[in-house]
């Protein structure tokens, strides 16, 4: 394809070779920077927005790994659904800036966090450098052309990984039921209560109040006398104002 007027073309082709790396560095930078920001921000809404950026950058990384389906699902499920609910809750509760924690409690956790991080890094390094499964690698190479495409993900979910898939869905169902149970326990809905969707729980009487049966006999002729008889205050100051 390259012709005699090649210098420019050659240079641009050379640049194109580095395009992947450049995109990776940008996405990686956004992901890590936003992740730090999630922890560092004092305002919960800023943390949530940072987390959205993390998810978007992760989706971009999935795209670079030739897994467009996973990338799209990442955005739809995490950025589009879960984070919307998080932001929804933050806005509804109007959460203020978090209070400054007492530093003593955290200081104990710092060494533990360092150790955990070290273990995690050691584990990743060990897997990267020492674990080689020849058979699995060959299988991966064979499947590399279709991995991450919609059809292969679907086929995998409903054949090889059917059991984990089903177990995960049961797990999600359990957490749903758990959340509803917790929410219900707080207000103890009895059989005579009325639930108004989206707002509150009322005892049934509140909606259909009993008729007023207070028929105290009153012997009086004028409004003022009635009010004095019943011990009511208000609305009878007119005379004084005059």
């Amino acid at each position: 394809m390259l012709s005699l007027s090649a210098p420019l073309a050659l240079a641009l082709e050379g640049l194109a070779d580095y395009a992947d790396e450049a995109v990776f560095v940008v996405l990686f930078g956004v992901a890590v920077g936003a992740a730090v920001s999630v922890v560092a921000q004092r305002n919960p809404l800023y943390s949530a927005v940072s987390l959205i950026f993390v998810f978007m950058a992760l989706a971009g990384l999935y795209l670079m790994l030739a897994a467009p389906f996973i990338a799209a699902i990442q955005v739809i499920v995490y950025a589009g659904a879960i984070m919307v609910l998080v932001i929804f809750v933050i806005m509804l509760l109007n959460v203020e800036e978090e209070e400054h924690r007492r530093p003593l409690k955290l200081r104990l956790l710092v060494p533990a966090a360092v150790v955990m991080a070290a273990v995690l890094f050691a584990e990743s390094a060990f897997i990267l450098y020492f674990v080689h499964d020849a058979a699995a690698e060959r299988a991966q190479a064979a499947a590399a052309n279709t991995t991450g495409l919609t059809a292969s993900v679907g086929a995998g979910l409903f054949t090889t990984y059917l059991l984990p898939f089903e177990i995960t869905s049961v797990l999600i169902l359990m957490s749903l039921v758990g959340a509803i149970t917790l929410a219900r326990r707080a207000s103890e809905i009895g059989p005579t209560d009325v639930v108004v969707p989206g707002s509150f729980v009322l005892p049934r009487q509140a909606l259909t109040p009993e008729p007023d049966v207070d028929a105290t006999p009153v012997s009086a002729r004028t409004t003022d006398e009635v009010q004095r008889e019943l011990g009511l205050a208000g609305a009878h100051h007119r005379k004084e104002e005059d």
Partner: protein, 352 residues
């Protein structure tokens, strides 16, 4: 294209091609949006027995540009108590997420452009185009939610909360109503889905097999774009202007544009998935006719939006939620089950 390849190499040539495509599509969509606004004002005027804007240019044809100029020249007001960064970020998110979907629209079939060669009238074609559109539009809710929160105004916040609740609720039935089409097509690639509907002299459209899915899609898509009769997030009578109460000048214009670009997106998806995209009689002989059919179908849906706005009152909030969760969602699920059963039995019959 050969000379461009020779000059700057194939990768850069492809990049230049896509850049040109993106800019042409971007300008085209923005022009359509501008004239949708004008058409809306004129048609609403007609429905309500008045004239609408008809003074700027012949028949008011230059009105969109006058409006744009006015938006640019208006004073920028940022409320003192607004959260400045988020307040400015919100309209950017809204318009960006609205415009990002343009790259997968199949505007037309492969046409022969003189001097360039055969060109597919779509900017990018990839495996998960439909999911990409859904993903990007699902992000657009942040534009509204953050706008309402950052304005520090109770009406804005109420509008934003309504909008978030509404969009989450109707996103489910929207997604499920498209599953039927995807099951029939066996692909998520929009261009591929349109190509599959080219039979019967270009009239073999998915709507014949998916009438239920089409109705559910159209209703929930109108709800997703916050238009009448689902315009609770900006209900003027209750919330001043809803989430964009505190926005002025170009920032308001960005929200306004985002709303109309989203309407366009909905129309494109409806056309592509249910009405055969660019397909129609005679497209096989004259590919450019496809673009005309495509635009005509889009125009129909945009007109439908305006027509609905002129004739329907607004839902109440509990009606909106009940309608979405108790009527549309079950209907969409029934459609998915029916379609998968039919697809499965066809598959079994083809195997035996």
């Amino acid at each position: 294209m050969e000379w461009l390849n020779n000059l700057i190499g194939p990768s850069a040539a492809r990049g230049v091609g896509q850049l040109v495509g993106i800019n042409v599509a971007f300008l085209g969509v923005l022009m359509i949006v501008a004239y949708t606004v004008l058409a809306e004002r004129r048609i609403l005027g007609f429905i309500q027995g008045r004239l609408g804007p008809n003074r700027v240019g012949p028949g008011g044809l230059l009105q969109p540009f006058a409006d744009l100029l006015k938006f640019i020249l208006k004073e920028e007001i940022i409320p003192d108590n607004a959260t400045r960064f988020v307040y400015l970020l919100a309209p950017v998110i809204a318009i960006t997420s609205a415009l990002m979907t343009i790259i997968v629209y199949p505007f037309g079939p492969e046409v022969n452009i003189p001097g360039v060669g055969p060109v597919r009238l779509t900017i990018a074609r990839f495996d998960v185009a439909l999911l990409y559109v859904l993903a990007i539009t699902s992000v657009s809710v942040y534009g509204i939610a953050l706008a309402g929160w950052a304005s520090n105004n109770k009406y804005s916040l109420l509008g934003a909360l309504r909008s978030a609740a509404q969009m989450i609720s109707y996103e489910l039935s929207l997604g499920l109503s498209l599953v039927g089409v995807v099951l029939m097509a066996g692909t998520l690639d929009l261009y591929g889905i349109v190509e599959q509907q080219s039979g019967w002299a270009g009239l073999h459209w998915n709507i014949i097999y998916q009438p239920l899915g089409f109705v559910v899609y159209l209703i929930s898509a109108i709800a997703e774009t916050n238009r009448v009769p689902f315009d609770l997030p900006e209900a003027e009578t209750e919330l001043v202007a809803g989430f964009h109460t505190e926005y002025s000048a170009l920032k308001f214009a960005l929200f306004f544009m985002a709303e109309y670009v989203n309407m366009f997106t909905v129309s494109v998806l409806a056309t592509t998935l249910f009405l055969g995209g660019w397909n129609g009689p005679g497209v096989a002989q004259f590919p450019l006719l496809g673009v005309v059919y495509f635009l005509l179908k889009i125009t129909f849906f945009l007109f439908l939006y305006i027509w609905l706005r002129g004739s329907l009152p607004r839902f109440r909030f509990d009606q909106l939620m009940n309608f979405g969760w108790k009527f549309l969602l079950p209907l969409a699920i029934v459609n998915v089950i029916l379609t998968s059963a039919v697809v499965y039995f066809q598959f079994v019959r083809a195997q035996s």
